[in-house]
Amino acid sequence: MTPLLALNLSASYGGKSPVLSGLSLEIGRGEILGLVGESGCGKSTLALAILRLLPVKNAYVEGSIEFNGRDLMLLSEGEMRRVRGKEIGLVLQSPMSALNPALRVGAQLEEAWRVHQRGTKDARKRDLVSALANARLPHAEEFFRRYPAQLSVGQAQRVLIAMAMLHHPALLICDEPTSSLDLVTQSDIVELFRELKTKLATSILFISHDLLSVANLCQRIAVMKDGAIVECRSTKDLFFDPQHPYTQQLLRALPAVPRFAAKAAAANS
């Protein structure tokens, strides 16, 4: 079966040394792929590169992004806009700054809906309510009328997830979705992703530097260093038999690899 997403990318900011150098990666349909690596190794750049949003940040990208049988790099900006949000969703790291502070929750969701759909008020309401329910959020009128500042961080992250899943995209890119959350909320959100994957058969690219969350959620893990993937294997193989020196170093840095992570990896495979 052809993978949902297969990419081979190089990217650099403003003519400086490349951030992504010949990075290649594949994600299968309905798969959750973890992407780990140190801060600044180009994880977020990769997330934006897949959505072709890097030019906004004055970056230069080349290579190919095979998604659902076509190369996204060849699409026009207008065609790309129809892919963003509809076929590929994005969840960002800090939910508070990712929500528009001047718009009510309801207005933001409606706006995200209107970008890709036309229809009656009832159809819109139905979709919004089901998206909020999927993200396990209240869908009372009062909640729609809140401003982002009136939400808790966990709620805000769920709103973002509901927004990203609104059009049931085939691929969801999560850029460090749990790193600004406390431990309990973190595990709730990881659980939510697992649920979404089973319920809606969405493929997820889960970018994080939190190896434990990744091990807990993903079937395969890709390890990234200096803009390239150095190792990409099933979670179990990666934890029990790390090949690359950087992966070994990463695992050694974990305080409780033998017990927690190994158990999680075993349960997942």
Binding site: L51, R84, A98, N100
Partner: protein, 268 residues
């Protein structure tokens, strides 16, 4: 401060009411000439006296205030909308368009404002009906007054554009003017309002300047500019203090606006 603002609001609303009911307050229209009583002192019939042509000064002051208070906000609206469109387009396009617009705005700001106004107004027809001349004058003000606001809005937009929520809006397929209207503009509104209110007194003063030079609203329609022009024949000997009323009114209205704006700015 709160007390001062209440007084300012009261003064402005009294003035607006007086302008609306000006026909009830004055015995004759603003353009009615009574050649028997030129330069009259105040009397029961002419509360502020008459001007050199024997026209009732109160009627002229009220009519001039009406012209300024209706057209100055319209001009402010034109310039604010232009500023939003110019700064917004530049921010959306980015790259060389943005740099070019920024240079254009700087160039525009560096031109001497009054000379620019005089030049442009002099190029446009002066031989038209009074009301048309008023509309032309204020349209010119609106069309030339956007640069300062555009500069501020550009700075705010380029800061907003780098924020995460704009990135996320792009990532959900939003783009172009939709991004400007639905995501950038709601965050820009406090600044837009402040710019709008600030440009009203600026335009009132600019029209008064043009009026003094004879390039503003044409006779017989009064405006604050032409009312002030009367003062060039003002002499300390045999003085008629009531000639100073338009000047006092102009200062009062501009100060009232500034007082009210200062509150708006603190709130924003």
């Amino acid at each position: 401060m709160k007390y001062a603002r209440t007084v300012a609001a009261l003064l402005l609303s009294t003035l607006v009411l007086a302008c609306v009911f000006r026909d009830q307050l004055t015995p004759v229209g603003y353009d009615h000439q009574d050649r028997n009583i030129p330069n009259a002192f105040r009397s029961r019939q002419h509360l502020l006296g008459t001007d050199a042509l024997g026209r009732d000064r109160l009627a002229r002051v009220l009519e001039g205030t009406r012209v300024s208070l209706v057209l100055a906000p319209s001009a402010a609206a034109i310039s604010t909308v232009l500023a939003i469109l110019i700064a917004g387009t530049a921010a959306l396009a980015g790259g060389w368009v943005e740099r070019l617009t920024a240079s254009g705005i700087d160039l525009f700001l560096s031109l001497p404002w009054l000379f620019l106004l005089v030049t442009v107004r002099a190029l446009l027809p002066l031989n038209v009906s009074p009301m048309t001349s008023a509309v032309i004058t204020f349209s010119v003000l609106g069309c030339l007054g956007w640069a300062g606001a555009a500069r501020l809005l550009s700075a705010q937009l380029s800061w907003l554009r780098s924020r995460d929520f704009i990135l996320l809006a792009r990532a959900s397929g939003c783009g172009g003017f939709r991004l400007l209207r639905r995501h950038l503009l709601p965050n820009l509104m406090p600044l837009v309002y402040a710019q709008f209110w600030i440009s009203i007194p600026t335009f009132i003063l600019a029209e008064a300047n043009l009026g003094i030079l004879g390039l503003g609203v044409s006779e017989p329609l009064p405006s604050w500019g032409s009312l002030l022009r009367e003062l060039d024949s003002f002499s300390v000997f045999g003085w008629n203090l009531w000639q100073l009323v338009p000047l006092a009114l102009l200062i009062a209205v501009v100060s009232c606006f500034h007082l009210l704006i200062s509150k708006g700015e603190i709130a924003a």
